[in-house]
Structures are given as structure tokens and as C-alpha cells.
Symmetry: D2
Subunit: 490 residues, 4 copies
Amino acid sequence: MTKIPSTEPDNEADAFRDECGVFGIFGKVDAAAVVTLGLHALQHRGQEAAGIVSYETDSGQFSIERHVGLIGDTFTKQAVLDRLPGSRAIGHTRYSTTGGEGLRNVQPFFAELAVGGFAISHNGNITNALTKQRELQKRGAIFSSTSDTETLLHLIAMSTHDSFTEKFIDAIKQLEGAFSLVGLSGKKMVGARDRLGIRPLVLGDLDGAYILASETCALDIIGARYVRDIAAGEVIVISEEGAESHFPYAKTNSRFCIFEYVYFARPDSNIEGLNVYEVRKRIGQELAKESPVEADMVVPVPDSGTPAAIGFSQQAGLPFDLGIIRNHYVGRTFIQPTASIRNMGVKLKHNANRDAIKGKRVILVDDSIVRGTTSQKIVQMVRDAGAAEVHMRIASPPTRASCFYGVDTPETSNLLASRLSIEEMKDFIKVDSLAFVSIDGLYRAVNEPGRNGSCPQFCDACFTGEYPTTLRDRDNTDVTRKLSLISKHG
Amino acid sequence: MTKIPSTEPDNEADAFRDECGVFGIFGKVDAAAVVTLGLHALQHRGQEAAGIVSYETDSGQFSIERHVGLIGDTFTKQAVLDRLPGSRAIGHTRYSTTGGEGLRNVQPFFAELAVGGFAISHNGNITNALTKQRELQKRGAIFSSTSDTETLLHLIAMSTHDSFTEKFIDAIKQLEGAFSLVGLSGKKMVGARDRLGIRPLVLGDLDGAYILASETCALDIIGARYVRDIAAGEVIVISEEGAESHFPYAKTNSRFCIFEYVYFARPDSNIEGLNVYEVRKRIGQELAKESPVEADMVVPVPDSGTPAAIGFSQQAGLPFDLGIIRNHYVGRTFIQPTASIRNMGVKLKHNANRDAIKGKRVILVDDSIVRGTTSQKIVQMVRDAGAAEVHMRIASPPTRASCFYGVDTPETSNLLASRLSIEEMKDFIKVDSLAFVSIDGLYRAVNEPGRNGSCPQFCDACFTGEYPTTLRDRDNTDVTRKLSLISKHG
Amino acid sequence: MTKIPSTEPDNEADAFRDECGVFGIFGKVDAAAVVTLGLHALQHRGQEAAGIVSYETDSGQFSIERHVGLIGDTFTKQAVLDRLPGSRAIGHTRYSTTGGEGLRNVQPFFAELAVGGFAISHNGNITNALTKQRELQKRGAIFSSTSDTETLLHLIAMSTHDSFTEKFIDAIKQLEGAFSLVGLSGKKMVGARDRLGIRPLVLGDLDGAYILASETCALDIIGARYVRDIAAGEVIVISEEGAESHFPYAKTNSRFCIFEYVYFARPDSNIEGLNVYEVRKRIGQELAKESPVEADMVVPVPDSGTPAAIGFSQQAGLPFDLGIIRNHYVGRTFIQPTASIRNMGVKLKHNANRDAIKGKRVILVDDSIVRGTTSQKIVQMVRDAGAAEVHMRIASPPTRASCFYGVDTPETSNLLASRLSIEEMKDFIKVDSLAFVSIDGLYRAVNEPGRNGSCPQFCDACFTGEYPTTLRDRDNTDVTRKLSLISKHG
Amino acid sequence: MTKIPSTEPDNEADAFRDECGVFGIFGKVDAAAVVTLGLHALQHRGQEAAGIVSYETDSGQFSIERHVGLIGDTFTKQAVLDRLPGSRAIGHTRYSTTGGEGLRNVQPFFAELAVGGFAISHNGNITNALTKQRELQKRGAIFSSTSDTETLLHLIAMSTHDSFTEKFIDAIKQLEGAFSLVGLSGKKMVGARDRLGIRPLVLGDLDGAYILASETCALDIIGARYVRDIAAGEVIVISEEGAESHFPYAKTNSRFCIFEYVYFARPDSNIEGLNVYEVRKRIGQELAKESPVEADMVVPVPDSGTPAAIGFSQQAGLPFDLGIIRNHYVGRTFIQPTASIRNMGVKLKHNANRDAIKGKRVILVDDSIVRGTTSQKIVQMVRDAGAAEVHMRIASPPTRASCFYGVDTPETSNLLASRLSIEEMKDFIKVDSLAFVSIDGLYRAVNEPGRNGSCPQFCDACFTGEYPTTLRDRDNTDVTRKLSLISKHG
């Protein structure tokens, strides 16, 4: 889940951020502890906050814990896990708890429905959530958050269908946009992907227990077996009797988010049959073929540029070298301490490895350029360290359009590629040459012959501006009224 | 607001506990700071948690803060007050955050209604809340707490009336039980008392700003002027245009809670025209007249027995003396440190003043006897200190029945007076004599000629078992299903 | 222990503050839990911070815990007590952790001496501590706090005597000023009072375990037996073999702090054979005899004025009434929320009971006048409530001089009585009449025929300016150099 | 500083841990903020706790802050920095706050000496600290920690020399072992390295302000200029007049810790003229020359094995690939949640990249083998992922002996290489082949022709067992008496 991207430029964030990871397990003692491990493996999908809901069959009771901070700092305490008994549990890790909202938007969400309790975790963004919210409020629904996920809960609650599964399907059929969902009722765990399958969701097995997770790396951490990817438009309903699948939507081609391969997913995950690390290496190889340059070394912008840099290096026959060192201790909360030292050119996160670079012609490989400010700083740092030439190669096409499917992106107008040509970008970031992989090159790296313009195989809206769904809330000016409650603590 | 009294005996609590205090102000800069002071003066009505919602007219935005702990430890921090801007604010202080419920039941509650935001603070208990909750859930309402106050919010949200005031009145007309409410919408502050006026609510004025508060002591702390008590069954709607009153109920005689005079209210408050301290002294005088005894000194069980002891002493012509000293540093969180010292007869809260008592015939005066365990301990302590005789005089009739109107009481079966005769109670607490003020003596102390049996002037259900309203939830076995979510953190 | 009184006027503090309570037990399982209870009973002697050191004979190890806050909020947690194993323990509760000093000055202090570990708790103030500190620093001692107690540790460490007991006695013989000490070594618990016995210290017994405590109320809480007061100048050394006493000083008359009877000690404590509550009542009686006035009621300024008000009322034959109600929820940390409401005349701590006072001639009884600002406010509040006349009676002589013996007092120049005559004070606090008990009246209340001017029976320096010891640090300008470290966190 | 390595096997720690980083700046506004940044760059030298002492010339006052946790979470708060005013400051980051010791051993340490305040940060370990401590205690010194650094403070305090600089030099001349020190007095900042220069220390310049830091990466982060390494045995004294150097020891050859190049230092740091990353690549090249093997790919054990793996890959002409992915969110505090899932083979930190490895002959490159347990797990993980062969190459000689110079190492008997031959180690970790770089190969990587056996150019005791200093405390059974105080909180 996410909100409509902020209208205010955020100078800090110079990257796309996937907003969530989801994980659920059904039928394993200490389920919450397993979810904790799964969320830890999905931490790259959201580092700001996390939550777990467990269900204990004996007592018929749910428990919920939600905390701001890394999983490893919050959910690993015995006291926390002790408050989450049961053999079924779902969890959620999220990117941002913006503004003063505190824990209000931290998932899973829980509702006491007439048919019993229900908890849900959501990765993605429902593009008609506010439109639906206005309809629901007119029917008397009370919202306690700004989250699109709460809209889903109300649609379930107000559904006139009889069984829980029918209510759930009735509700998600009213949703537009992107969603990979994991839900937990008193009897069932449900998983669902939107009809285009924009966000990932896989099914795993651990000694007979069912697992749903955003990525396969969350199966690996606990030694679970990968079974299959949940299909686009599939609803899987898991109970003590086993799993059954529903396909409530008309059949259509899927449109998985290609940026998951470029940046979001962990390199050791496999998605829809492809290994992410191998895809990234192949993007680097495509780049080297498309935009070769004479140089002494290939240097990744760590860590996200590393696989493509290895691919580029191998294709180009140039040495791969760590010319930039990353300080992994940087949290997002590191605030530059005082105004008076802001001008020191402080290098909190990256430092050039001066002796490795000095006098060399360097090819820098990064995954993408968003606002361009980070690239500018890194290039300047590499030049200050004495590089003779600096060539930049980017392992994705220029990002020209905002994402509305669960990724935190700047407004389109703040994307460097939406304002400048590649030549102008080259001047802006002050490199000797700049090249992006072509859109067809990117498709080749995911084993397609190229992009099928009439029926694209992936969602690539951030590169092409072609959104695969309507964007009802964005186009519906009536729903943009802000909520009344701006600040909530406790 | 409160929940149905627990069915489990709670050995710790040997007193009735009023569960809430409410306070609101409309039209004063730094309104939240004023509410903080008002809640501080009402701290005796609930010490466990508190919350404030403020509204800023310029931005049209609400802000909310809720914290566990004493007002003076939580809401006095500048950072907290800075997050509560605006010239209108309401607050709430409450007794208990039972079990693992954390902040979920801490008020004010806030809802984003179709017509805008609305916050509410509630003192009392709605006796048909669960019945209404089941109806609302069947219509698709989602509840996020076990609070009866949330039921009210849903009734407002689902009302088909047009204006906010009409919706509010429509909703409260469906409520049964006891409630003194203070609500805040984007345009108005509303106050309301149930048709019997069971819980208190007064109107005050501070330099033209309207104030609603549970007791007059909350006006005194800020130097506000007492205007009048809100009438039983009155709805007062305050806006920039001024205040207007509605009386949506059929006219009936009020039934104010007489136990507020006995114990709950602060002695310096005036309620319905009577000063609480003077009432308590008069109860002591009635006791001295009804049940005199030859003795050397009158000793209060501090602090609640002190005013009645003064009255008794003056009426009886016996010296008033501090034979028991209270340690005011005892919080409710003081846990007896280890099992091995539980048997020391630890005196955390009260200590006998040995030299004052030794060899004396002592009359102990206390406000009430609930389970009797505290009285037992205090009498033993006084005897251990060398008292020659111990006579106990109680400034209320025997408490025989549970309260369902917002007071935390033991189950009826755990009330000593429901099981034992006065003679048996005398033996149980091991005193030389024991007497309670008569029900008519109590009525005389509040300036009535006596109790009017056919049409009692007050709610005295805890003494008489005569409940002035139906108790729909209690009598409706269908609604007692527990909620699914037992534990929520964060 | 304490520091030289601050040179800066502190407008908040309008009372004398005793700075510490001490407690130790030798030979009882879960000793730290017993100390926790003892300190809880001594909380009135210091509310800001506390510490406990325990010793476990089996392991031969000490453990220490120190926390800011009330005992009942910090030391009652099981985890804290679990970290304090052993059957011997001493503790300390203190008034103030001024400035940025954090836990640095919180006691007990612990030192690893050449002969083993040693912990100490101190109530009082050593008036030559800085002078000794300079000497010790010149010999190479490193100080980690500003505390006079640390000076004592260094004197022990640098003593050339052989046994621990001899080192301890050697050290305290070098001290001037006031000290009641409880110390714990690997083999012994020691107690000591300065040669004048300025601060209190009593010996108790709990099932054969030895107890040392500041006041008897700390024995009562755990049902321990009072044995005797430690004598002025006595050193008691407790070991598994029993207790032995040393008297290292030349014999002299004791000079116990008479203000302990007036205000510091708890009313249910007995000190040197006298019950504090009874002394206070007798002071009220003396006042009524010395300075009678025609009036309708006697009203205590709660809580410290209450016993004297009872005594006054009984002697004068006037009714005792609670005309002022105290809000016990006020902590010292309650900060007036914003500048804009400072002028509301906020009554955080006391409220006049309007109906009780209106139209009446009121005698207010308080324990002392320090700066006079509190008296001013209370008188104004009582007048605003409609009192016809306000007469103030003070249960101590005028306080004219600062204390240097472990009490936090304003500079002499900030004491109202040091600047104004009684007549001028009457005008300053705006009462119809003002009277203080005479110094001889005060001595009569403690069962003396009057003050023996040539050889006063008590330390009454705050009333008379006659200090019973030299004040070496005060008179030695060389030692007043401030320490280099002003702020320490962590 | 450090303590004698623990005698208890610690199954968790399977790596050597450098225990500290130091940083100081003299003459820059907001000095504490600069130190914060410097410590952030040195975070790899100690992640558990940190401290800063600042000095403000105007007030002549020191301030100190010490916190447990990462710099970026603790010292970047404005409130913390505001409590550290001044243009001079030193800091310290440390590895471990073992046991219940809380903040007691967190540096810098501060002492109020007779000549004024003095703060000190220490990297290394003084091997005669306990011996000296016993001597000092017999002279009356009181120790408040178990730290060898406190011994140094006492030696300064007890020095009979006149000036501060002379006292400092007098004290460090009595020390044996390894130390890189940064100290701050009211007038001076001092830096010192032990006579063998075992631990690193460099001098930097930022707009005229002097900087002392453990590594050059701490200069880079703030854009400071590297001036030179402080020489072995050098004492540098910095004042407003500039810097002057003292050489109090007899001249000898330096013995810098060669393991700093292998593992401790950051790859972008230069030490004694050599770039750490380049040294590590050269070790990988030496390994490839000494122990080649036919394979399909070179896979680093991330992150510490990466530079050597690149060197190996380039020398061997084999592809470098990320066959193992590291989860950087793992903190050291991640506790495996419950016993029941301990057997899942949870992979918190490393995951095999299955698709990259499957069916391949893999050369794993790691920096060292300590206990061997981590290597075992990683090899098993790589085999489970389907590797056809697994060959291990280690970028250091076998570690056979504990370090006593400021590195946290297991007891010698717990080092795998102290118990097993290389062939046995191969079987233990279950690889197809295992090779370590030779000691001469390692010396060649640091530009030496080989190890000079009669006069080794570096400290390589962990590989050779040849300690370059006496180990007085270790050999002096008299000093091993444990301290009395085991647990201290607050």
C-alpha cells in the first residue's frame, strides 16, 4: 500500500523506494518468529516500520504488534514474540511512516468484522482507493487512517456476500491498481495479486506449512521450499483443508513491474523464473554492447550498481574494481549534524578509493538516475580523487514518469530525465560520457526479444509513461480533499 | 466510557474507581495547554492515561496526542503541546488501560466522518453499546476498539440526518446508560448528559471562552468562572455564534450519582449546588448522630475518610487526630518486590502513628467498604499499634451492587456487604463496633429530607440495587461474545 | 551529602529540602527488595533519584543500580531486583540531580579499594569536603563527581591504617559537618553519625538482620523492630559476629537538627524518643498559646501544616477545617505549559475550598516561611475565595540563615526573614496578622524547658545563625574553583 | 583499550574484532559535530558504543556524552550536540560493552586532575595495566572501571612531574603494550602511539584545525587533508601555538599490526603509505599464484573477502561473481527468535545465490578463519545451492595465537588453526581444497620482500605467536583477582 506520491519535492530522496514487503505462514508453531525471519529477509522492501498479526487456534484469538524500526531491533525480543502466540501469522514491513502519522499507517491492519477478525498486509497501491473511500464514508464508514488498505477492509465489511471468501473476492474486484495481499481470518490465510500481477508474490512450503512472501529470499532464510509464483489475478485461499485458487478476473496478460528486476528485488531472489542477479548482470552486458567506451576500469556505485558493473566488466573485458567504498552503517536517520558543517562536502555514505582511481579512466555503473543529485555528487567525488575520465553507464532506461503502483517516486517534474535530454543530463552530472541501457536492451536482459509495443510484457510506466491501469484517484479532483487529522501521537 | 465490569475477581482493587474525567475549551489560544491544566485538576477521576485533541481554525486541522501516565508527566512537555495547535481542544483522563490493550481505548476518539473530523471524550458507560455494536457490524461497520464510545461514533457516522448537530442528537438518543460527553467538530464543541444526568458536567467561562468540565475544580485551577451545571438530558452546542441548548429527551427527574459526593469528586468541587467537602462533613455528622460511641479520638483513614472524620469529630466533641499516616508516593504501579517478602506485612500506603494511638479508644472513619480486605489490614495495623478499642464508622451505606454507569466495581458477589450482615462484617474486619450511615442519613447530608422510595432523587444503585435504566447488554447474552483481538501493541 | 548551596536564586523552590535518606540491611535474603521498601518509606527525604548496592556472600561480588525517579517506578521492577542479588544491601534516596549532572551524583558511591570493594550512602553535608578534595588531588587522587561523599572514599583509600575499620574511622575523623553514613564492605556494614549527631540514624532488627535507617518509618514499613538511635559520634560496625560500637570523637553534647521535627521527618517517625506528629501538634499548641486570635476556623496549609493546625485548633477550641485542598498528583516536574497561560494564576498544587471559607475569619497554619512567595499566593487564594480575615500562624521561628548540613536552602539573602521584620512580612504576604512560634516555644514542644543559649540542645542555625561547626569550605575562597566538567550524559 | 581476552568460549563471535576508533579535532567550531562524522567513518572499528568530550575555551568547561549504539542513531541528535559546545573535542567508538557493565567502560574517560580536567580516548591494550593498577591501589587510588585506560589517568594524576605534558609522558613511559591515544586538556590536544606503533594513528588538517584519527577514511568524510602518520613512539602535543613532537622512547623499529591490512581497516584507508584495498587485492593475487585451482568462478565471502577475491579473479583469469548475498540489515543484536526454529538453518546474514552457483566449481575467498564455524556454514550453504566443487582460499595465514593488543580474539585453544593442520581444517569445513596465503606472501602484498625472521617488520603475533612486547599482566598471576563489582546499572 502507499499514498499518492507527495507533491512536495523531497531533496533527500534520490531513489525509487518500494514501499512494502509481505509475508505469511499457516500451520507452523511459533509462526510469528518465522514471520520475523521472513520480514528480515524482506527488509530491503521497507525499513521504517513493521508489524505482525498472529492467530492462535486454541483460543481463537488474534494478537498484533507494530513497531517503528528495523525488524532485528524490534521483533526479535522475546517479550514481543511471546505476545504473538499461534501457528498462523502474517507480517508487513514498510518504507515510510511519513509526517506525524506515527504507527497509524503501519500494517497489518486489523478489523473486527461481523464474521470475525481479519488482518491484512498489502504491497502495492490501489489507484481508486480515495474514490471508494468517499463512497464508503457517505454510507457511514469511519476511517482511522489515510491508507488505501483500510478502504479494502471496509469494502469487505460492507460486502453483502455471505462467506468470507466471497466477501474478500467481492471487495478486491472493486479495486484498481497494484496489490499483492496476504490476509488472515480465523479460519484462512488468503493471498491475492492484482489482475496484472504488478507486484510480486510467491508461494512456499516449510514442512507442510504454507508460506506467502514477496520474494524467494524470504523462503531461503528459513530453508523453505519455493513452490511457485502466485499468478496475476489469482486469489489463493489456504485453510486446514489445503489451498484452493480462484481467478475472479477476466483473463489478461500480466504486466509485472520490470523495475523490480532493476533495483527493488534482492539479487538472490528469483521472480517469475528469472534470477535477479543474473538479469542485472545481463543488463550490464547489454549496456557494454550498446555503449562501449575505452577505459581502465569498471567501478560500481555500490551496492545497487554492482551486479550490472560485473556484467559490464565481463562483457567489456575491463577490470572490475571497488573505486567507491560504501559505509553500511548509514541509516536513513543520519542527519547532518549542524548547518555550519553542511558545506564540508560530507561523505556519509560513499567514499572514493583515491589510490585505486587516481589517473584512471573510470566507467561508473549505477542502476538508475532519479533526480540526478546523487550522481552529481558521486562524479564530483571520483573526479576529486583524481580520475582522468569519468564515464557513466546506467542499468535502466531514463526514468521519466512517476509510479502509482506502490513505489515512492518524486513527482514526474522532479525526475531529471523528464526535463533534460541525455546530452543535457551528461552536462548536468558532469561526466565525459553518459549512456542508459535501451528499453529493448532491458527487455532482452529479461529474456524477451524486445519490448512488444502493442502489448508490453511488463509494467514499464516509469520509463515509458504508459500506465497499464486507469488512475482514477489522480484524475478525480473531488477526492483529493485532505483528511482533517494531521498529527496523531499515541 | 468503560466496559462491562470484569468477571474476574481483582484482589488488588478494593475501591470503586470512577473511570474518567472530561474537559473542553472553545476559543482560547493554546487551548491544549488549558486542557492539560483542566485534566490535571481532574486527575483523581483517572490516572492511567490521557489524551487531547485540538483543532486549529486557520488550517482546519485536528491534532491528537494520547499517552499512558499522569498528565504532569506527559502533557506538560513543550514538544507535546507544540503538536497540539489551535484555540479549541478537548481532553480526557481515564482510569484503566486494562490488559494488553495499550493505547487502543485511550480517549478522545477521533473519526473522519463524511462531514469532516469529529473527536469525543466520554465519562460514563453506555449500557446498550454492545447490542448496538452488533447491529452496526451487520451493516458493515468496522470497530477498532472495545469501547462503547466507538459505538457512538458509528451511530453518528451512519445517521441519515443532514447536519452534524442532528446526527449527534440522533445518535445519543439511541444510547442507554450514563454519559457526560464533550465533542469537537470542525465548527462546534458539543456537550451532553444522559437524560438522568448520572455523571457530572459543568459549564465555565474564561474570558469569553466556553469550557465544559467534569467538575468545578477544573475551572478553579485556571481561574475560570463557574456558569452552571449542564442539565440532565441537555445537549449544548457551542460555536462561534455562541451556545445553544437542545433537550431531545422527554422530561424526567434527574438521578445524579450520589457516590460522586461520597468518594469520586474532589472535596473542593461543587456539584449541583452542593460543596462536596461540606456534604462529606455532614455525612460524618449524621454518622455521629446515628451511631455514637465512647472513645478518645477520631482517626480518618486518609485521605478519603478525612472530611467525614472531621464532621464526626465536631459532632461528637471528640479530638480529631492523624493516627494513620499515608505515603503519597505510592503509585498504583508499586509491585511488591518479591514473593519472599510478601509476608512481612508490608505497609506501602498507610502506617499507624503508634505514639498517637497507643492505649487509646479509636474511632476509624472511612468512606466505604468494598471487599473489606483493606479495612481488615488497617484495623490490624491500628491494633498492632496498641489501640485499646477500634470502632469503625463508614460514611456511606453498605455497597451491595455493582455499578454499570462508568465506575469500575467488583462483581456484586465480591462486595462484602452483598454476602455478610453488618454484624458479620464487624467480625470479618475485627472491630469492636461497626456502623454505616443510613441511606436516609446520606440523603439528609445532600440536603434532602430522606430518600424518596417511589421516586429516588439520586442514582444509589450501588447501595440499593435499584438501577435507574435498563441494562440491555448485561441482559442480552447474545452480545457477550468476546472480540477476536486480545493483544495489541503499537 | 550535598553541595554548597547554589548562589543563584531559584524562584521555584520555596521550601527547605532535606537531601537524602539512607537505609541498609545485613543478613536477610533478597536484601535489595527490603532496601527498596525502606527507601520507599524515606521517599519524602529525596524524590529525584535513588540507588542500591547489594553484596552476595557466595560470589563475593557487589552489584549496583542507580536510577532517576521515584523508587516505586524504578526499583520495583523484577529485572532491576534480579540484578541486585545478596543478603546485604544499602541504599540511598536523594533530592536533587541538579543541572546536567545526570547520574553522576546519585548514591551509593562505590570504590574498588586495595582491600576490596566498598559502597557508601550519605545523608548530610561535609563542610570541609572541597578543602580535603584539593589536598587529595595534589596527592594524585582523581575525582569523578562533585560530591563530598567521594572525598570520604578517597580519605579511606589513602588512609595508611591497616584494617578496613581503622581506615574508615581515620577517614571520618578528618571530616567536619554533618553526616549520617551507611557503608558496605565485603565483610561489614558500617553506620556512623557525626560527633554532633546533626542528621538522624536509627538501628533496627528484622528477624535477626541488622538495619540502619534514617527514620523509624522505614522500619515500620517492613515490620522491623526499632532498637535505638545511633548515638552522636558513634561508629557501629556490623559483621557476621554481631555489632560493635566505636566512639572515636571526644565526648560532646549532641546538636540534632530541630528542623527535622518541624518539617523534614515523617510525622509517624520517632526521633530521639519523640514522636514527630506529637511534637508538631505541640508546636501548634504553643503557637495558640503565644499568639491567639479570634477567628472562625483553623485551616492547615496541607500537608506540612496539618499536625500543627490540629494542635492549634485543639488548644484554641476552634474548628479545624480543610479550607485548602491539595492536589497530590503534582510532581515536581510539572512545568507550567506555556508563557501565555502563566498569568492565569494557575493553582497546580493547592485550591481554596471556596464554600468552606467564604465569609469566615480564617487562621492559616503552615510549617515555615522561606522566600514568602508561596505564602503570598496562598493568602491571595484564600482572600479570593471570600475569607473575611486571614491570620497566618507559622509552626517555626523565622528562618534567617542558610543550612550547610545537607539541606537545600536558598542563600541567606533570599530568606524573607533575613530581610524583613515580622511586621514587614505581614504586609508582604498581606495577612491581617502574622505570628511565628518563639524559639523557646519550639524548644518546649520538644520537651525542653527552653533554649539553653550558652549550650543549645539542638542545631537551630537556620533560625539563629549559630552554626555548631566551622564552615571551612565556605570560608576558604581557595576551594571554590569550579570543576572543569559541567555536563555529563551517559 | 581492551580487557584480557575472555576465558569463556563465545560461540557467536567467529571473527577478530578491533575494539576501538579514536578521533580528535582542535580549533574548529562545532568540533563535536566534526567528531561525530569522524567516528561515523570509523564505525567499523567499534559499533557498540561511543563517546565525545568537548572543551569550550570561553567558559573553560568540558562536556561529555556517552551512548550505547551506532553514532548515526545517537550523536546526530541536535540536543546531544548542543550539550557538547566548543571548538575542541575528542571521541571514541568501541566494540563491546560486555556483561552488565553498561556505560562504565565507554570512553572517552575524564578526570579532574589537580592541574585541571583531562579526557582521553584509547585504541589498543596496555599489557601491564592490572599490574600498575595494583600498585596504584596500594597508594590509595580508587578505580571506577576495569579499563586499562583508567590506569593511565591515575599514572598521570600521581606523576610528580610539573607540567601536564611531562606528566603525560611520564605516565605513558610506564605503559607496555599497544596504544594509540588522543587526549584533551584545557590547553592541549595530545596524540601518542606506543613505541612499536602497533595500532594506527594519523594526523590531518581541516582549514588549519588539527585532526588526529585512527584511519584516513575519517579525514575523507569531512574533506580534511591527510598530513602524515604519527610515528611509532611519537607524542604530539597540539596547542594554540601549533604542534610539537616528543620522542620519549629509545629508538626501535616499528611493528605495525599487519592484521589491520588484512581485515580491520577500511579498504579506502591508507596506512603507512599503503592503500588497504590495493594490499588486499595483492594478497588475493599472491594467493592465486601460490595456490591456483581449476574452477568456474571466484566468489567472495562478502564483504571482507571481496577485495582479495577481485585480486584472485584478476590474477587467475577467472570470472568474479556474487555467489553469496549479504543482508546488511543484520545487526549484532539479532537474536534467533526461539529455540524451536534454531534448527531451520536460518541464514540471517548470508544467502547463497542459487542460480549463480548451481553446477559450478566455486573458489570461495575469505579474509581469515578464526573458529571455523562460519566457514563450515557457508560451505554447506554453497554446497546446498548446488555447487559442483568448493575450494576455499584464505587471504591471511592461519591464525594460531590470541591477540593482546586491543583486538577481541578467542582464547588460543579456540582458534581452529591452533588445533588442526591445514589438511584437518579442510576436512572440518568440508571443502575440496583449502589454502592460506603464506606469511611471506602476505609480506609481499605489503611491499616487503618477505618476512624478516630476525627482525619482523610487522606485528604478526596472531599468525606466528611471536609477541613483540612482554605480556606482564598475563604472566603475573597475582593481578588476575577479579574486581568486586560485577554489575552496574546507572
